[in-house]
């Protein structure tokens, strides 16, 4: 018996040791190359069995797997969902950093915060830390590739340059405005809508599940903006007022953290007109709350945001994202709770009445 106690104790110690090493090991406030992010995803799945699972949902042009983390307290039913993707543009390194931070935050807080626990019960979070895997890896190659934006598919025949702007490649007023048909341009929208495997991956995954998704957040940098649909100036979302109001609430939540101002509005109003964006496509699919986050800064460091700004940027963006997610959840589920309660009372009353009759 002492042997088995001793053995159990040793197992316990190693489990604790392993857990401590993991928590100390991953630095959310440094930029990580793709292999480290992949390892981190594997580790998350290991550390949170039944809560976190990896879903491989596509392939990049260069044949790499595109993966997301599905996070939720498994109720065994088909659940409503939140979508978040980061790194659709390779050089925006703060975005994948935020996705990883977001994941670690919700996994930490649900254990002690009843609200987060409830949200994780009611909804699943689908988080893609790096959507444009090839581009991201390319931006890590050397000093000359750091500012790469697009994916890495070769241009059409006769083209001298690589890459399509994935955020102009979605089927949402594709090719109409804010794009270039010059394959060397940073906003080259591709040979046709959804020509790129990365775009196809997102579309294929979401198209069959669009009724489940309540919220679509796509994370970029830089400019400190919260952008709402649509990128085309002639189109207004039918829930524009709601999008603005919730967006302004998110900007206020952001401001409370470190005082940073994020401007809220449609792309054509506050930045520039564009078409074929993932945010617009998601909205057109019927996902009601669809936002582009443009994180820090305002141009001082631009894409090369110093690592000592990762923490504050993530903290404020988390606050903003949480505002939108909480609104989305409460709008969907408080009503359902009331309905469920009413149903329950009706059933009980019916049983009570019939029961009384039976007696």
């Amino acid at each position: 018996m002492l042997n088995s106690v001793g053995l159990s104790f040793m197992l316990l110690l190693s489990a604790v040791g392993a857990a401590i090493v993991e928590r100390v090991g991953y630095d959310y406030y440094k930029y990580h190359p793709m292999p480290e992010i992949t390892n981190w995803m594997t580790q998350m799945e290991k550390d949170y069995p039944g809560v976190v699972s990896i879903v491989n949902y596509g392939k990049s042009y260069e044949g790499r797997t595109i993966s997301l983390l599905k996070i939720g307290l498994n109720t065994g039913e088909k659940k409503k969902a939140i979508w978040m993707d980061c790194g659709i543009h390779a050089r925006e390194w703060i975005a994948p950093a935020f996705c990883q931070y977001f994941v670690s935050q919700i996994l930490q807080t649900y254990k002690t915060d009843p609200k987060m626990e409830q949200m994780m019960k009611d909804m699943d979070f689908y988080v893609t830390p790096v959507l444009n895997v090839d581009g991201y890896i390319y931006s890590w190659k050397d000093n000359t590739t750091r500012l790469w934006r697009k994916n890495r598919s070769p241009g059409p025949a006769g083209c001298d340059c690589y890459g399509t702007d994935l955020n102009r490649n979605f089927e949402a007023n594709w090719g109409t405005i804010g794009v270039s048909f010059d394959c060397c341009s940073q906003t080259y929208c591709g040979t046709k809508p959804v020509s790129e495997p990365e775009t196809q991956s997102v579309m294929n995954f979401l198209a069959s599940r669009k009724d489940d998704f309540l919220c679509f957040l796509t994370i970029h940098s830089y400019s400190q903006l919260l952008l709402i649909p649509f990128g085309h100036p002639d189109f207004t979302a039918n829930n524009y007022d709601e999008l603005m109001e919730v967006g302004l609430g998110a900007a206020e939540a952001i401001r409370k953290i470190h005082g940073m101002e994020y401007i809220v509005g449609t792309s054509p109003a506050v930045l520039y007109a564009n078409s074929g964006s993932s945010r617009d496509w998601a909205r057109m699919q019927g996902i009601p709350l669809s936002y582009t986050f443009e994180l820090r800064d305002n141009g001082t460091f631009g894409f090369e945001l110093p690592e000592d700004q990762i923490k504050p940027t993530c903290e404020e963006a988390y606050s903003g994202a949480l505002h939108i997610i909480t609104y989305t959840h409460d709008k969907t589920f408080n009503g359902a709770v009331v309905t469920a309660a009413a149903t329950l009372w009706t059933v009980l009353l019916a049983v009570g009445v019939t029961g009384a009759n039976l007696i």
Binding site: D160, G178, M244, E261, G265, A269, E304, P306
Partner: protein
Amino acid sequence: MGLRIIVVLAVLMGVTGSPTTTVRPETTSVDTAAHPNSIPETAEETGQNEVFSEEEAAEDVMATGELNPNHYPAQRAAKVVQHYLTTRYGSPYRLFGLHRVHSGNAEDVGDSGRKYQLEISVHEIISNTTQKCSAEVFFPHGQKQESPQVQASCEELLNISTKAQEEALYQQYKMNQTLLSAQNLPDSHGHIEPDVKPLWHLGIVASSFIMLKESSENTLYNMAQVANITQLETENEQLKFDCHTLLHDMVSQEILHWKLLFAWSPAEGVKVLQMEQLPHCQHCEKPPNTN
């Protein structure tokens, strides 16, 4: 739809301007006659978005009249003011960022161009102070790309004196046994070694001359990176530098490469002697023949 695409492409191509220019030693930009700053009270506590949160007038295509300060026409014009202030007052110890646009107004000046009047706050990055400015930006509408003209009046811009630090740096660089050189400022991780920070700052000031010159209502320029900055032999008491700078235009999302030759001294400030746009190395990326 074909016409729209052509217009979009034409606008995008209009951004880059002429590929090679040589600029004489800088002539000072138009200076302001002091005029009273009447800065309207804005919703300081509640944040930038409160000012104009309700409706968006369908004004943005040819923004004229009172402007929404959060919308791109005022923001782009304000960024031009940032570049102007940097060229005018920037130094290794004084750099500007646009903090906020409080209000703006635009009007056409006949056919010659459009004039913007702005009330903005600028952030002096090194001292971490913010101050208000009134500015006027005129964008000429000509056949070929012309630089905007800026006048600005900021109350306390030069309040914090940087003279001593500038003088010390100047002497240090003048006495260098070996000429200084630095690359990739900032590096991929946003890091800059403290001892080369002044070189980064000088690179930003010099680049601001280009950003100012190249700006239009269809651009929004920020620094992307100082790829290389090299000190040359001091000439006429002016420190001289050769610089390869990368600029980011937010509207086209392009990275523009420029080469600069500039001089600096505390007395004269930064003066650009030569500037030249470099073609981006497209052929470096040519895909293998896939026949």
